[in-house]
């Protein structure tokens, strides 16, 4: 295999950024009500749901990828549903990668949001209600601004973690250029074909990216004043 052309690399970079962005967006929309429910419920379901959300933290991504592949495959329940809806099959497509990434990065979004909601407590919500704000109004005018640091953390962590995923992508997406070949898979390919120089460039780039993000988070967080 000849050394990679620049367009192929940029294709992988673009695909990775696209995947991480879409995943982060979905995670924030999905993670907000989920984290809210977890922070406020007294239901017995809280424990099990919390555990499911945290699963990706401890399970090998390959295991998650395997089960998602089975579920979304032609014989899996999700696969049969998507087929009957005319959506076709999700594995080995960008959409499938998004589904896998959402599940994989869920704890990185739900946990900071949940912690923030819990720390916020009921007091500001009650104050807003007595000042005539409806629950939805309260969310946008009080909760969102007060939990902004947690949202920044959640978004950055969700994005960065998705950029770094590999196992699920390989199980679920394979290695289709422009569709599922993201950066981590690209690096794996390069190492397999002993293209160490190019692998260095990409791997090093990801290192710098991860470091910059974590450093950025540190400076973005409000300093404790008291």
């Amino acid at each position: 295999m000849s050394p990679l052309e620049a367009p192929a690399i940029w294709q992988a970079v673009w695909l990775t950024v696209k995947l991480a962005s879409v995943t982060t967006l979905i995670l924030l929309l999905l993670g907000t009500p989920l984290a809210w429910w977890l922070a406020s419920t007294r239901s017995w379901l809280k424990g099990p749901v919390n555990a499911v959300v945290a699963l990706p933290l401890v399970l090998p991504p390959v295991v998650i990828g395997f089960y998602l592949l089975v579920l979304m495959g032609p014989k899996g329940p999700v696969g049969q549903l998507t087929q009957s809806l005319g959506l076709g099959l999700l594995p080995f497509s960008f959409a499938g990668l998004v589904v896998g990434s959402v599940f994989y990065s869920l704890p990185f979004v739900v946990q900071p949001l949940g912690n923030a909601f819990e720390a916020l407590g009921r007091a500001p919500l009650e104050a807003a209600a007595t000042l005539r704000a409806s629950p939805l109004d309260t969310f946008f005018s009080v909760v969102l601004p007060l939990c902004k640091p947690a949202y920044i953390t959640a978004a950055v962590m969700g994005f960065a973690h998705t950029v770094g995923e590999f196992g699920i992508v390989l199980m679920l997406g394979g290695n289709i250029p422009g569709q599922t070949r993201v950066l981590s898979v690209q690096i794996y390919d390069l190492v397999e074909t002993l293209e160490y120089t190019q692998a260095h460039w990409l791997a090093g780039g990801l290192m710098v990216f991860a470091f910059a993000i974590l450093l950025g988070l540190h400076f973005l967080q409000p300093k404790k004043t008291t």
Binding site: A128, A129, L131
Partner: protein, 365 residues
């Protein structure tokens, strides 16, 4: 129908709230009782902040407007969510929004009120609470007393039909308390908004409340005019060190040389050590039971200025060795705490004529 009609029955673990109240639709009503008596639960229930559980039911009408009817025997349950109730709520800790300035906090409620319902202007609220100079500050930079004043102004700015205050002074030290009390009194005199004021401090109740609800273990012990309840010997408020009577008097004459004001009340003349009062001014005066001693004849050659002729109306045991005596002084009720020994020595009975010597009086404003 004006006034507040509230019925609440709820069971929370081993605590049960069971109250039926008919409260005046104006003035300050204090909800008074020891910690754990259900004061805050009652106030939160009125606000709609307490989540309903299966065993609870309630009815609440404010000035004829039914806010809640979740009694078990009604067909059509009504429960107006908190944000649709025209109320202001002042929490124990001011509970300001830290992401907004003081001005932003004040605007928050105001912006959510239709123009037609805005009766209290922001200027009026800020002026009343003396926070004009704080508008651009962040809540985190305010002192406890300032924060509480902003919280009160924020609640007032929504022109509520009912203002609920949950021990707004509890988190403050003695000095800040003293600073804030005059503002609360101004609310009372300048705005026509009924206030429910939760407190466990007898002196706050004496100063602020026209009407009083005594709660104990989730039940209403008594509900009525403050003056009456404070001197009813069958109620806990008329016992102990803080027991006091409140009388209303009108200033007739000032004697600047002695820093004295002389006032008239139902039971006669009373001299007040307070030269800043004006002739014609109405004052609320507190006379503590421990500052009143009794004699059978009018004492001559005494340093005590205030001596009133009165009749013993009832007697009750107080702390060990001490008795609480309720007196009728020309229609005003006074309390005197004397020793059991003196009670026996003077042979006091209901109906006995006595002279009450008052060693100290406090003008409450």
């Amino acid at each position: 129908m004006s006034g507040i009609h509230a019925i609440f029955q709820r069971v929370l673990g081993d605590f049960a709230l069971d109250v039926t109240l008919q409260l005046p639709g104006r003035g300050v009503t204090a909800i008074f009782g020891p910690s754990g008596s259900g004061k805050t639960t009652l106030l939160r229930s009125i606000a709609g902040l307490e989540r309903e559980s299966g065993a609870s039911g309630g009815y609440l009408a404010v000035n004829g407007d039914v806010w809640q009817d979740t009694r078990t025997n009604v067909d059509k349950r009504i429960f107006k969510p908190v944000h649709t109730r025209s109320l202001g709520y002042v929490f124990q800790s001011a509970n300001l929004f830290n992401h907004l300035t003081v001005q932003g906090n004040l605007d928050y409620g105001l912006r959510r009120i239709p123009l037609a319902e805005r009766k209290v202007s922001l200027g009026q609220a800020t002026e009343l609470l003396g926070i004009e100079k704080l508008l651009h500050r962040q809540p985190a930079t305010l002192s406890g007393g300032e924060r509480q004043r902003v919280a009160i102004a924020r609640a007032l700015a929504t022109s509520p039909q009912l203002l609920l205050m949950d021990e707004p002074l509890a988190a403050l030290d003695v000095q800040r308390k003293a600073d804030l009390l005059p503002y609360l009194e101004r609310l009372h005199t300048e705005l026509d908004i009924p206030v429910l004021y939760v407190s466990h401090a007898p002196d706050e109740v004496a100063r602020l409340a026209d009407h009083l609800v005594l709660l104990d273990a989730g039940k209403v012990l008594a509900s009525g005019p403050t003056r009456e309840l404070m001197t009813r010997l069958d109620l806990p408020l008329a016992h102990g060190d803080a027991a006091a009577a409140i009388i209303d008097a009108v200033v007739m004459r000032v004697e600047p040389a002695y820093h004295l004001s002389h006032a008239e009340f139902a039971g006669g003349h009373i001299s007040l050590l307070n030269p800043s009062l004006q002739v014609g001014q109405r004052v609320r005066v507190r006379i503590q039971a421990r500052d009143v001693s009794l004699t059978l004849t009018r004492q001559q050659g005494t340093s005590v200025l205030n001596i009133f002729a009165a009749t013993v109306s009832s007697i009750s045991a107080d702390s060990p060795g001490q008795a609480m005596v309720a007196l009728d002084a020309g229609g005003s009720t006074l309390l005197a705490r004397i020793t059991q020994k003196s009670l026996d020595a003077l042979g006091l009975q209901p109906g006995s004529p006595v002279f009450a010597q008052v060693k100290g009086v406090a003008v409450l404003g």
